[in-house]
Symmetry: C2
Subunit: 407 residues, 2 copies
């Protein structure tokens, strides 16, 4: 069955498509934190951040269905759902961030944010970390060194702030601005994922972003917080990753978990920052702010609140991180445990051992991934209803895999 | 009620947002070819191409709900829906077009198509028409003169092939390639909407694209057919706009109607064209090819077939165009009627008169829009279940509006 699907896939999908794991999984059903394959096998999902309130959450599905039966149109007509959603999103943010633009994907949001920053500053230079991932458009792929292509025109990189060097990020941004100026490029923005996901998860010390934000503003540039991965409560206690650093961005982008799998994203700005762009450009996003996508995103916000998923992300995160640190005592291949809430990065001694662990866990029915320039960080980032029982299962399975594997 | 919504909107949405009509409409419900406002007023929708099978089509809503209850994940796992959809899409195309990449918006698809064309040719030059619209990403906005910004780096324009000059497009592309070469830019692609929607609808003589395609290929570039607007049967008889011109593109992009309002789009390529891109770039689209979006798109294809919407687009299109031509005899302000199937452009004598007609129709309960560099073309582009009765209503209402308005 899986062989047939693999063959069909090779035949009709572009060669750009890549599957996870040495033995790909053929998923046919998912619910909560569980996924099921075509052989009826069950997998604990400790990887997927997109279904943030759990796979196929009935309240989200119902909201989508209800709205889809009534109306799904665009923002050239006045409709209520985009307004409700914008109001709800702004209520989670500092008051300086007051304008919403609804978009469809994280790439879409980041691309727009960069365009806005260029219009606002008159600059073209953008600073990103050296193993960043911000998306797939030509412009944003050029700001995503982890996607394997050369930095785009005007894009400059700073060393990734993972592990203990994080506090130096401000100094690195200042040096980078100097390099940029020397190349005749005027700074427009510092664009960072506020938990540095693809860089290998850079979480501590909380607050280290503040000096980097100061540095880009001193240079006349804006701070764009890419909340596509850390946003919607993943880091625990806070709704947004930038809040852990006690900074207020000029522009915030969000995406992945926003619709629990439904394509929706957004850009939130300080009003003064988007004025110039709005004056110059006729911008319209056909699907951005359609009523069904907005109804879905509203339901996701409802569930996050009702099920107290921020508090759960925090408490489960603390519990799971502690369990991983305990495991590190027995297995020196575990070099460091980083993270906040339910976004956890486990530094492993080598890329090979990381791949062995990731594939070993998959074979034992637990799904995680890897991250970092060297592919040597376990990426643990489950749907937020992940609890202690699931953490225990992850930990015991990981122990088993570590015991089995060499190293 | 509308006043309150307008105020909320001004407060929380970015100043980029623009509403249609002198008196915006506050839509609360839609069904088939009808939309309803907050005062219970009914509008005939002769504008919206996105809900291609009709607003809130129950078969599409049911397919979405059914899939959303079972599974909605991404293409790093093997799942069946993206394969089914890719197979169905390819079955509508010439056999040379054999690879599908699933994306989320038309902009997303066009941005990827341009990246693919650059990788395949080693060129960076892209030719578009001088009032084209291809989307919102920084790269694609730079290829969308109608969005009001300067052409991006490497972007060259040719005069829009609307009305009688269409047959000269090939010659114009040759001249443009020469200009490009003189500027030291190597051609990558000719990117056109195959019905030239924003240019003011360029439909005849069918076949005029062939020489332009020949010209770009002679220059070493690719032909990208932007089917975001003409695709999915709108032009009648044919599923894709390029088929009216009897050409086989190197890359086809599609979007808007693909999910009847749900955000989904796609890029279809000749395999040899995407090989280089796939080798160089790690491309992954989080929401592209998610199972729910695919299920929705499959349902749209089912309905198009089951309800014989191509044949209807053709026959209603012929009927409506004839009615408009009859009207032109009594009202010389109607200069020309262009179009194919249910994509009709009516050339009006002035921008002011066009605005009067569009707003007059809205006041009488019929929704259309305008297009073209001078804003002097009525854009009539209803959901495809639009029939003769609706055409008659549009024609009698238009007659009334024309009788009322000055000019």
């Amino acid at each position: 069955m899986i062989g047939n699907a693999l063959e069909r896939r090779r035949k009709v999908l572009a060669p750009t498509y890549r599957l996870f794991y040495s033995e790909p999984v053929h998923i046919v059903r998912a619910e909560g934190v569980w996924m099921y394959d075509s052989d009826g096998r069950k997998y604990l999902d400790a990887y997927n951040n997109v279904p943030v309130v759990g796979h196929c959450h009935p309240q989200v599905v119902d909201a989508m269905t209800r709205q889809a039966r009534i109306l799904n149109t665009h923002t050239r007509y006045l409709t209520d759902k985009p307004l409700e959603l914008a109001e709800r999103l702004l209520a989670t943010m500092p008051s300086e961030l007051a304008n919403v633009t609804l978009t469809c994907t994280g790439s879409d949001a980041n691309d727009l944010a960069v365009r806005i920053s260029k219009a606002a500053t008159g600059g073209t230079g953008v600073i990103v970390t050296d193993f960043a991932y911000h998306g797939t458009t030509e412009t944003i792929a050029g700001m995503s060194p982890s996607a394997g292509i050369e930095p785009g025109h005007g894009v400059f990189t700073v060393a990734s702030p993972v592990a203990e060097s994080a506090a130096e990020l401000g100094a690195r941004v200042r040096t980078c601005v100097a390099r940029m100026r020397a190349a005749g490029v005027k700074p427009a923005a510092l664009l960072v994922d506020t938990i540095f996901s693809s860089d290998g998860i850079g979480s501590h010390p909380a607050g280290f972003l503040a000096d980097a934000v100061k540095a880009i503003r001193e240079a006349g540039g804006l701070f764009i917080a890419d909340e596509v991965q850390p946003g919607f409560g993943r880091t625990g206690n806070h709704m947004w990753g930038f809040q852990r650093h006690d900074v207020v961005p000029d522009i915030v982008t969000m995406g992945k978990p926003m619709g629990n799998g439904h394509p929706i994203s957004a850009v939130v700005t300080r009003p003064e920052v988007i004025a110039e762009f709005a004056k110059r450009v006729r911008y319209f996003n056909t699907f951005g702010g359609n009523d069904v996508s907005c109804a879905v995103a509203l339901a996701v916000l409802d569930v996050i609140e009702k099920e107290k998923l921020l508090a759960n992300a925090h408490s489960t995160g603390v519990y799971l991180q502690q369990g991983l640190r305990n495991l590190a005592r027995d297995f020196p291949r575990i070099v460091e445990v980083r993270g906040a809430g339910l976004f956890i990065g486990v530094q492993i001694s080598s890329r090979e051992e990381t791949a062995r662990i990731v594939n070993g866990l998959r074979d034992e029915g637990v799904l995680i991934g890897s991250a970092g320039r060297n592919g040597d960080v376990l990426k643990i980032r489950p749907p937020l209803p992940f609890g202690r029982a699931e953490s225990d299962l992850l930990l015991t399975t990981l122990t088993k895999v570590l015991q089995k594997s060499a190293g």
